[in-house]
Symmetry: D2
Subunit: 395 residues, 4 copies
């Protein structure tokens, strides 16, 4: 290990230490796993963002006897976290600077390590296993994302013979993460990035799913006047009774000071809508994919573009008005300098879903059915109870 | 018709006129039915509360060509409404003063009138049909309540050969009525009956279902500090993230200034809990059945009881403390002088669910399956859209 | 005493007992006064609404050794309260049925009783004393209202030689009563009288003083969208930052589903404004005087008027639209059947201000200056502390 | 000018451009001043934070014909802003790296430039003028802070012969900045720095002045349970009616997950209070001075201290528990990487108070009296109206 690696590892350890100290649910699991060793003799192959919160999950699995072979997502790997994990004896591939080709190599390297349990993201590992035809070597795994679940239920449905628990289908996650943590994170990031006042502002939220609901509620509670655009009439009904101004995007576009997409759909803010916007409206997207705002067209049509601050650009439109675009249309709660992302507690919740689902795979894979499936109900209920306790809700 | 009947009818008509004027969804249906006459040639037998809001539903069905034979629930029939309906040409049995025996006779009288469509409540009419063995005469119907649905899915499941749409299963009702309208009605009734200050008060809501959620939210929004008791950990998790103090009834009983049950279960506030309560705590129930607070024991053990105001009694306990009981443990949003019940808009919503489900029965019973079933999805969505429009949510 | 009087007194006693039991601050004062007898040898002449809450104040003064000679306001005297007070040994003049002439006689009768301390309302007693030229017989008093204070500082300023503490100038009252209690009372009365849904409704509050602020806040917290009309730019600024839609009445008149006046000024909703209103808008006034909505013109111009329910009339306008007027333009939180008025706790607060100010008069009138003056600061602070304790705010 | 200066200036210009574009009130003033040239022939000497928002104020004064001689506060000068201002032709002294001695020299240099109007901060310039005995050369000025106002009304009261308008006494600032902007900034900074979840957390706010009120309200609106500690009973009364849990610090210390000081007083959280805190409580200060939390004692007593993240340290106490301290006890809304401080709109408001007060000095100093005084009422009202317009509150 070089001096630089040692320094990096030290920096990584310090950041991980703080985060670990505020993840009480994983701490409980770590203590339990240390006693029961559910992963003894198992090797977990992982593909997930390599950042300090993930490190606390990996430590927890390792405490339960797991051997870890891990890589990250493309572009989000944090080198100090990697150094700290390697120092702790895990096999970790990847660095922030990796090319797409190197990233593909990392995925292969994880599979070459012959894991028998997968902690997957986007079904990358599962697809690799299917390609190799080595399904029999896997007893099961977890999948973090909805898009991975879609692949598992689509193209991979027939060929995946082992159980995969889909973490993102969890109702706990819908409430704890999508609604509350994303709502908090979006309103925090709006204030952090723009430095604009919230009370009295007209904020239009497009989409009233779990995320949109949280965003609308958090903005209103800080004093904004909030409009909601929602095509599904049942959700629109709910939004109207929740007291929001509910109308079409055409009706609300010219009323908005701030417009935030949370639909998951492509090109929601596009075409004629741009011409309806007020001068200097702030546009941001909270959805996973960067396609809800048609940024390409905005830029192509621009008379000029100012990069005004980290995560903010002002695009001057041919009609003489401008648009203030956050994070280039990507999730703006991950934009700006040092964004923190979802709250530590919500990540603690999400990662305990991972840890206990993996424990179930390791100890009782036979009790699950092959293919994608929700988190077992008893695990959801167990975690709900632990979370309420950890919040000290009874005090 | 006697002079008294004419007077009563006039009084009934005046009250109905106001309510009708604030039920825009039924007005739309009335206009549509007048043109399409979906009930022409049909006779609807009804058993439902006979009060002015129901009258607007009946008028709407009559406008669609239905012949109406109706009776009310035991004890809630309003004589001026009956007079007005009779004057309008409907066959109506029952009066406020009816005995239980007379009420049973009214149900029989409705069935003797040979309806082919039922608008039922508690499955009273359906059970009568099964008893008579005249199922073949009925093309279908609706059931208002959950307890009626339970009978239809239980003891009557095998013998009911016609489709029954269960209104109370509707998601629109869950949100529009159980959450919002009951929440509003409970907080209004608390203020109306007790004349006590809400801000700063410690209010404990037992049960975090649709109703409990609304009650907790409405009290908090008026400045109360709100605790929630909920046995289901998934709902308790939601309550904790919604920011409520979540604990067991044992822990919260001594903290409460006001304690409201919304569980649907028997004897929730009973036994040892009584000894934990603070002096002069206000106890009220919002659930359908008057069994959530063990009033019988409270009264039996009382050292004395003061009837302090309409809908309020103070029960002095052997431990030297007292309890202020609302409405004798019955739903207190129907207590006190001239309670109004759920908002007109929410009743408009619920009754449009009735009207359109009955229309479906009359025009396309073959498209439904036998037995209890939810409101057809297209009807829910149609009403959701109309409701949002009628709220003028887009303004 | 006749049998009827005894019955009336019994009814009065029962209602007073409940109210007394929920006025803990006056209970503390009663206990203290019983020991210290601050009013021993004094006769208090009172002119104030004779209803059960006032009775608890009078008892408290009597417990401190005061002899009471009392009458009520014109038209609001409750006969059972009078009966109960007489039974308790007080001299009380007046009944609900009194004519204006009889009322004037009651005021004279109070003064004929030769009180040395006044508990005044509208400066009626003070004006009588000045007229008689018997100022020297009075050591001081209190005045409940702002309009009484205006007289004391205006026409009576030169001739009132004794100190008068003006209760309504209290900052505690501004917050505890005008903002919170009136806000609660107005939103409760709106729901109670109209039975309309609050969430999603467009409510316009005209006037953003203490009352308007409370009304706007309470409606919004129940889910209404709230607009504010305020001519004073400093208050309009505050309303805008508080997140309300702030605009002129002309701009908001057509947006309102409900419009409530809280300005204290005459003819605020009048003239051309009527033509801007949407069909069937609900109009109500919360201000002390019934002149904020120009009801006379509304009625004079009406094509027809329906009395639709207690406290509600629908006025059909020549433009084909209608207006739903609450309480004929009088304070609608005192309208409908059995309105309760401000919360018991807020009345407890206001009456303790009375009781302790009168005690100060009785024991240290020399420490005050002649004429109208605010409640002594130490009394305000003492009561604030007691109120916070009584709320159990520390729990 | 060196190449580096040019680069710095370019960076400064870009940041200033964005901020300028979101300060519409100063833009209006700039346009007006350009036409009326109120500062023609005047030289304004300034001592205020040299950062991009201030730059927009200085540009505005320059547009009105002012010659500017400026320096910053100790330690907060941003070099790119300085470079941009110099490029724009202003005389600016100071850099981030300045020692205290150099800072004193900068103040002297501003005075050596012979300004006739002062834009002062902490009364540094006024004190220098008094020391030099050159009061006659000054026609008047403004003072930004309360601590400066205290000096002007204290030690400098007799010797300051020219009018000084104290900006911080403004009621607009109290509402727009202290309550709303600080409340927003504190809640944003808490989330940004700690990455902790807000809903359900127990947050104790010590002090219920303008700032504390905003902080309490913003945390509660995001779902926290909020307790308030306030020694002034009148404010405690208000907090209790606003629905907060009000108790002593001794009572609430052990309940808090997060404890924030906003009192302005020294050593509020100190001594025995530390022993009452729960393990790992988060402590932060929002008051101007870093003395509310007794950090020196905390550190002196610590068994060890971890620097866990930017703006966060964990202090391990002898009792085995730890404390998470934000920003070392300094205002934590200015801590962490790239804190943004109060919202652009609130700074626009505060700086328009500066600009119009300085205009009044330049054009009508005779209409003011000597010494410290509030912002003229007509200026407050003018700005209130402009702010409401700029918010587009009427839409």
């Amino acid at each position: 290990m070089t001096a630089t690696d040692t320094d990096l590892a030290a920096k990584g350890r310090a950041r991980i230490a703080w985060i670990r100290s505020r993840m009480p649910l994983l701490a409980q699991a770590r203590a339990a796993f240390a006693a029961t060793q559910p992963f003894a003799g198992h090797r977990i192959g992982m593909s997930l963002h390599l950042e300090p919160k993930t490190a606390v999950l990996l430590e927890t699995l390792a405490a339960g006897g797991a051997e870890i072979i891990a890589t990250g997502n493309f572009g989000s790997t944090q080198d100090d976290t990697v150094a700290a994990l390697r120092e702790a004896g895990m096999t970790v591939f990847g660095s922030r600077a990796d090319t797409l080709e190197q990233h593909a190599g990392n995925i292969r390297a994880v599979l070459d390590g012959a894991p028998d349990i997968l902690l997957d993201n986007g079904a990358d590992l599962a697809a690799g296993i299917v390609e190799r035809g080595t399904q029999a070597s896997i007893i099961g795994g977890t999948e973090e994302t909805t898009s991975g679940a879609d692949r598992l239920r689509g193209e991979l449905a027939r060929t995946v013979s082992f159980p995969i628990v889909v973490i993102n289908d969890s109702r706990l996650k819908a409430i704890g993460e999508n609604r509350h943590a994303v709502g908090q994170s979006i309103v925090e990031s709006f204030m952090r990035i723009t430095n604009l006042m919230v009370p009295g502002r007209h904020v239009v939220v497009v989409g009233y799913g779990w995320c949109g609901r949280g965003i609308a509620q958090y903005f209103r509670s800080l004093g904004a006047q909030v409009g909601v655009v929602e095509l599904d009439v049942m959700k629109a009904f709910e939004a109207a009774l929740d007291g929001f101004r509910v109308a079409s995007l055409t009706e609300l576009a010219g009323w908005a000071d701030v417009l935030i997409t949370a639909t998951g759909r492509e090109r929601v803010v596009a075409g004629d809508v741009f011409d309806l916007l007020r001068d200097d409206v702030v546009l941001g997207n909270s959805g996973h994919f960067p396609w809800e705002i048609d940024v390409a067209t905005l830029r192509a049509d621009a008379s000029s573009i100012d990069q005004v601050d980290d995560g903010i650009e002002r695009i001057h439109r041919p009609n003489g008005r401008s648009v203030v675009l956050l994070a280039g249309g990507r999730m703006f709660n991950l934009a700006g300098r040092e964004p923190k992302g979802n709250s530590l507690e919500s990540m603690d919740l999400g990662f305990l879903l991972q840890a206990l689902s993996l424990e179930r795979i390791a100890t009782d894979a036979g009790g699950l059915f092959p293919g994608a499936q929700p988190v077992p109900d008893d695990i959801e209920r167990f975690i709900a109870a632990r979370f309420v306790e950890a919040m000290g809700a009874a005090r």
